[in-house]
């Protein structure tokens, strides 16, 4: 039986202008899963709900531990990076790290120092003296130093330069080799193409796709059409005007070229928007 690192059932959060609509998904132990979706799709809400930072309905289990009943123990297994480290700007990195270390029985000071060296983090510096990219690295160093078995990363690569993003992807792959599970949200899909095993695609609070990366990429082809009638004939998905005609996704492995994750996202989103418009009319 497959060990689930994270099992989320009917996660629901209602805001005045947004509903995370009872989504369910799971991430197998040792997998790297990417949570994608446009801005405001509910990626951060999902991760924060999983961490219990926002009050939402639903059940969350981390390595079989029920978050509601064993919150502290479940969180010990998680390394959470909610974007850049925007806390305690006037405190030195060493002071924050020392405090964080007290909360984790498996904190490894040697590992922390290694990551600090790798990321060129100067521990005597204050948080406010770090660039956005360095803040993310500091948050990552903290998350990676307490033996977390599940990493929840909210847009960890968005403030990083290309080389640092590459380094982070390498780190994630190395952690995966050690059996660490990763769920990270991003809108930089090229990072996912590098490392992800699984894609969770959120659109407007709804889980639109939950599939292995290869299966999702293999499910659609991108096809160019001269006119809309041609697109309708093959029931193309998310058809939109482009230079010199129209483009849309077609299911199957026949016509067109392989679609990238970005293209799949764009056309599925377009299709959803069209369906909404039709429903409203």
């Amino acid at each position: 039986m497959t060990l689930l690192a994270l099992n989320v059932q009917n996660l629901r959060k209602v805001y005045p202008n947004f509903v995370l609509d009872g989504i369910s998904f799971s991430v197998e132990a040792g997998q790297i899963a990417g949570l994608i979706g446009r801005n405001g799709a509910g990626k951060s809400t999902t991760l924060k709900s999983v961490m219990g930072l926002i009050a939402s309905e639903g059940a969350v289990k981390v390595f079989g531990k029920d978050f509601g009943e064993e919150e502290g123990t479940a969180k010990e297994l998680i390394g959470y990076v909610g974007g850049g480290f925007r806390f305690y700007p006037n405190k030195a990195l060493s002071a924050v790290a020392k405090t964080v270390a007290r909360f984790y029985p498996h904190w490894d000071g040697e590992v922390f120092r290694r990551y600090c060296d790798e990321y060129a983090l100067v521990l005597t510096k204050k948080i406010r003296e770090l660039s956005e990219g360095m803040k993310i690295k500091f948050a990552l160093a903290l998350a990676l130093s307490h033996g977390a078995k599940l990493l929840l990363l909210d847009e960890p690569t968005s403030g990083l330069d290309p080389l640092s993003r590459e380094d982070l992807c390498d780190t994630l792959l190395a952690l995966k080799a050690q059996g660490v599970t990763v769920l990270f949200s991003t809108h930089i899909t090229s990072d996912l193409m590098r490392v992800a095993d699984r894609i969770l695609y959120l659109s407007d609070g709804t889980l639109l796709a939950d599939a292995a990366l290869d299966a999702l990429i293999g499910r659609y082809r991108l096809k160019h059409f001269a006119d809309l009638a041609e697109a309708d004939a093959v029931r193309a998905i998310g058809v939109k005007a482009v230079k010199g005609g129209f483009e849309g996704l077609v299911e199957g492995s026949g016509e067109g070229r392989e679609a990238t994750l970005d293209e799949i996202m764009i056309h599925l989103e377009w299709e959803r928007r069209k369906s909404h418009e039709i429903a409203h009319k």
Partner: protein, 216 residues
């Protein structure tokens, strides 16, 4: 909880929490409304909550391996440690004052005299502040000013009542220097301390419940 309290000291505590402890020495000022000592304690809580908000402390702490509902409890426990320290320091200053000041300077003409009963009033004022401020603040941690304004308004209304009572004839025994009328003063002291404990426990319970429903 130990780690949470330790985090409060290392990352959150505002210096005024320590500085305002020195205000216990205000009992040495002749003819002064000594009750304001306990208002300054509330001000220290306000500054600490403000610093915590600016530092993003609550979201950070809740992401650590602790129960979310324990986050306000740790902050309140630390603030209550300082409140208890303030009460003890005030009592110590009162003892020193009573041992060193001439008898004529021990009766406060503008408010309650600094004696055993006064420590009971202080405990009550602190308990009232806790009950008013913390549950309102933890219902929406971005709000600090409104809970503080409400808590201090109630505190000052109570201080006003205490100061007015002091001028009524039947109240004379309670403004006397110690050890006169020890019995009734002790009863007021223990009554105040009991109320402080009850009101603070209630404040903690409400704050924890409300904080669990907060989105960070």
């Amino acid at each position: 909880m130990k780690s949470l309290i330790s985090k409060e000291f290392s990352l959150c505590l505002h210096p005024t929490s320590i500085i305002f402890l020195a205000f216990a020495a205000l009992v040495f000022v002749p003819n002064y409304p000594y009750e304001v000592i306990f208002f300054f304690s509330g001000l220290a809580v306000f500054f600490t909550a403000m610093a915590a908000r600016e530092n993003g402390d609550l979201a950070f702490t809740a992401s650590l391996p602790v129960k979310k509902r324990n986050v306000p409890l740790a902050r309140m426990a630390v603030m209550m440690m300082f409140q208890c320290a303030l009460l003890c320091l005030t009592a110590l200053c009162i003892v020193i004052k009573q041992m060193t000041f001439p008898q004529t300077m021990l009766v406060n003409l503008v408010g309650n005299s600094a004696n055993l009963a006064f420590c009971g009033y202080g405990a009550l004022l602190l308990g009232i502040f806790n009950l008013m401020f913390f549950p309102l603040h933890y219902q929406n941690p971005t709000k600090i000013g409104v809970p503080f304004a409400i808590a201090t308004a109630v505190q000052f209304a109570l201080i006003g009542c205490m100061v007015m009572l002091r001028h009524l004839p039947f109240y004379a025994p309670l403004t006397s220097p110690d050890p006169d009328y020890y019995g009734i003063k002790l009863a007021i002291l223990f009554g105040g301390l009991t109320l402080y404990a009850v009101l603070s426990a209630l404040a903690a319970r409400l704050s924890m419940q409300r904080f669990e429903r907060v989105d960070l």
